[in-house]
């Protein structure tokens, strides 16, 4: 019998663990670059790596995702290379979008369908992606990630409602981290969990521990199965927390007014350490292996940075080509 952990195959568990470590290493590096005033847009996702990584781990490679602004867990989770992500953020020709998209970031082959800068817009676009997937009949699904902020937008209401009406294969995954930039979520939301809104659309709404990668993997996996079977969308709220301020700019006039104990408390719930402990306990990982994974991640990120910085910029004309398709 293959080793497994809480019903998840050992191989998947290891993949999730390794991916979270890579996401963390990349994030820490980008924060460092940001503090040095390197011209990149990056919203740190430290501490909330689990939802996007575990959810993407539950996909097939031809499934698609519609991500959101926070961090690059979804990017790396779906197979993007940190080097080309950073190259894109820097505006280099070797980026995923030849340097013209910056944080919007997309990749056709990996099924990463771009990231709008308008909060919530993609929740509606995803419904239509779902229409296409339903029509094509290949049992593919789309995951749409978001923070709890856009749950207040009309786009959320219209998008999730349409997905439900048309019973399309979309899974809506909210990373609820208690804050919307500097604003405590409870000041601008009536519900505690976005999943409480699911009855408005008569779809399943589930609230889970967003720092428990395996629970996320299992719950999203179940929602994906429902979607593939034509049973329509699911709304999943993953309760988590980011350790860092919303943004990193040095001149950012400290938007972070969160109580230090609150941050410290959540740091103790680190999703990576938590999975690591369970893996070690279950003999799926040795401390030496864990060490190696971290080293490899660091090395990967070092060479990603080198790659990105050494890459050339595109020429002006190259950035004018894609306004229209011909």
């Amino acid at each position: 019998m293959k080793p497994e952990l809480e019903g998840v195959s050992g191989e998947r568990v290891l993949h999730i663990y390794r991916t979270m470590v890579r996401v963390r290493a990349f994030d820490e590096k980008l924060i460092e670059l940001g503090k040095r005033r390197e011209p990149i847009i990056h919203h740190p996702t430290l501490g909330q790596e689990a939802p996007a990584v575990a959810a993407c781990a539950a996909l097939n490679s031809d499934d698609v995702i519609m991500p959101y602004h926070r961090g690059w867990a979804w990017a790396i989770g779906k197979g993007m290379e940190p080097g080309r992500v950073l190259a894109e953020l820097l505006g280099k020709r070797t980026g995923y979008c030849k340097g013209q998209a910056g944080p919007h970031l997309a990749d056709w082959d990996l099924g990463v369908l771009g990231r709008s800068g308008i909060q919530g817009a993609h929740l509606q676009i995803a419904a239509g992606v779902g229409c296409a997937l339903k029509l094509e009949g290949k049992r593919r699904v789309c995951l749409a990630f978001f923070g709890e902020g856009p749950a207040s937008t009309g786009a959320f209401h219209e998008g999730v409602h349409l997905a439900a009406l048309w019973q399309v294969p979309v899974v809506y995954i909210c990373e609820s981290n208690n804050y919307q930039f500097a604003v405590p979520a409870r000041e601008v939301m009536r519900v505690e969990s976005v999943a409480e809104m699911a009855p408005s659309y008569r779809i399943p709404g589930v609230t889970i521990d967003g720092n428990d990668a395996l629970q996320i993997f299992t719950t999203v996996g179940e929602a994906i199965r429902r979607a593939r079977d034509g049973l329509g969308p699911t709304l999943i709220d993953c309760r988590t927390y980011r350790w860092h301020d919303s943004y990193y700019q040095p001149e950012n006039m400290a938007t972070d007014h969160r109580p230090a104990e609150e941050v410290a408390g959540w740091r103790k719930k680190c999703p990576i350490l938590r999975l690591k402990a369970r893996m070690i306990e279950a003999n799926l990982l040795s401390p030496a292996q864990a060490e190696l994974i971290e080293r490899e991640a660091e090395a990967e990120i070092e060479s990603a940075v080198k790659f990105a910085y050494e890459s050339p910029y595109p020429r002006r004309e190259e950035l004018t080509e894609d306004v229209y398709a011909s």
Partner: protein
């Protein structure tokens, strides 16, 4: 109309609306990736037959959620489908503004690298005045979208152009706004509509509706009729006006306009939208930049005033541009 009969004929007299419906049905038959999004499209008179012919699965009937279903169409387009979004009134485009201007127009660009395409049509079922439906059902909003790179805009004046431009719009790989003026919907033209599935009118090409040497009148949509009536009136007084129907506003046919002005030396732009920062402003500005040396008189714009459309048929009637006004403006330009 059953396809067999259509195939036997080469052209047929039809209303503007029927011409578009015919082209839409033909495109849906031609390409199974053509799908629809809109309110009430399993029931509305224009769509029921399509739902029956092609199956309800291809017509995504939506509740009132213009922002949402326009964005949804974008999503389907990204994945290789060719959606046509039906929007009830031009005014409702403002309800879907983010989906159009921030998302659809930019999505290909922000995804970078050219692998993503957004082949979608936003079909505006009714634009402009004449129904007494109030100021949020009767605006002419086309100029707003001329300012958004990534979009294209078709705005036909005749049934044949409507059919031909509609086909081009559906086959284009970019988001195209397609405006149907409410006063044209049931109109027929003398020229019959070609039924050939390959009959298209290219986006971005104007049509010279009447030749003339004394001045150039540039217009589009419902105002084309009014301008032609004015030109007839002017001709009776010995003034030969050239009337250009732009047919597309983005891209618009600079060359035809500049060539005409090079011949006539005078430009009158007639449009039903509000004057300030309207479609006419772009035409006038371009001619003032690139056709300046031909100009023998000031440019003149004749548009709806900078005000809100009154909510009644009577109120609207007080502000509608008519042939007389156009003719007077033309004579003004010629100093007669």
């Amino acid at each position: 109309m059953p396809a067999e009969r259509a195939a036997a004929q080469t052209a047929q007299e039809m209303t503007f609306n029927a011409a578009i419906q015919h082209a839409l049905g033909a495109e849906m038959k031609r390409d199974s990736r053509v799908i629809l999004f809109g309110i009430g499209i399993h029931h509305g008179a224009n769509f029921r037959a399509l739902a029956e012919e092609f199956g309800r699965e291809r017509l995504f009937q939506a509740p009132i959620a213009e922002q949402g279903f326009t964005a949804a169409a974008l999503g389907a387009a990204l994945m290789g489908y060719r959606p046509v979004v039906v929007i009830g009134r031009g005014d409702f485009l403002y309800c879907a503004m983010d989906s159009i201007a921030n998302e659809a127009a930019k999505y290909r660009y922000i995804c970078g690298g050219g692998r993503f395409r957004v082949p979608m049509v936003i079909r505006v079922n009714s634009t402009g005045m004449g129904g007494g439906e109030g100021s949020q059902h009767s605006q002419s909003v086309e100029a707003t979208f001329m300012h958004i790179p990534g979009l294209k805009i078709a705005i036909p004046a005749t049934p044949a152009d409507a059919a031909g431009l509609f086909r081009s719009a559906v086959r284009d790989d970019n988001p195209v706004l397609f405006f149907e003026h409410r006063q044209l919907k049931r109109s027929k033209a003398s020229a019959p509509v070609p039924l050939d599935p390959d009959f298209t009118v290219p986006l971005g090409e104007a049509a010279i509706r009447r030749r003339g040497r004394d001045l150039t009148i540039v217009t589009y949509a419902y105002m084309v009729q009014k301008c032609l009536a004015a030109a007839a009136e002017l001709a009776a007084g010995g003034v030969e006006a050239e009337v250009i129907d732009l047919r597309s506003l983005l891209p618009w046919d600079k060359k035809t306009v500049l060539d005409s002005v090079a011949r006539t030396g005078r430009l009158l732009v007639v449009s039903e939208d509000c004057k300030t920062a309207g479609a006419g402003a772009e035409i006038a500005a371009t001619v003032a930049e690139e056709g300046f040396s031909s100009l023998r008189a000031p440019i003149r714009r004749l548009c709806y005033p900078d005000m809100i459309v009154p909510g009644t048929v009577y109120g609207e009637s007080l502000f509608m541009i008519d042939a007389k006004e156009i003719a007077a403006a033309a004579r003004g330009l010629l100093g007669r």
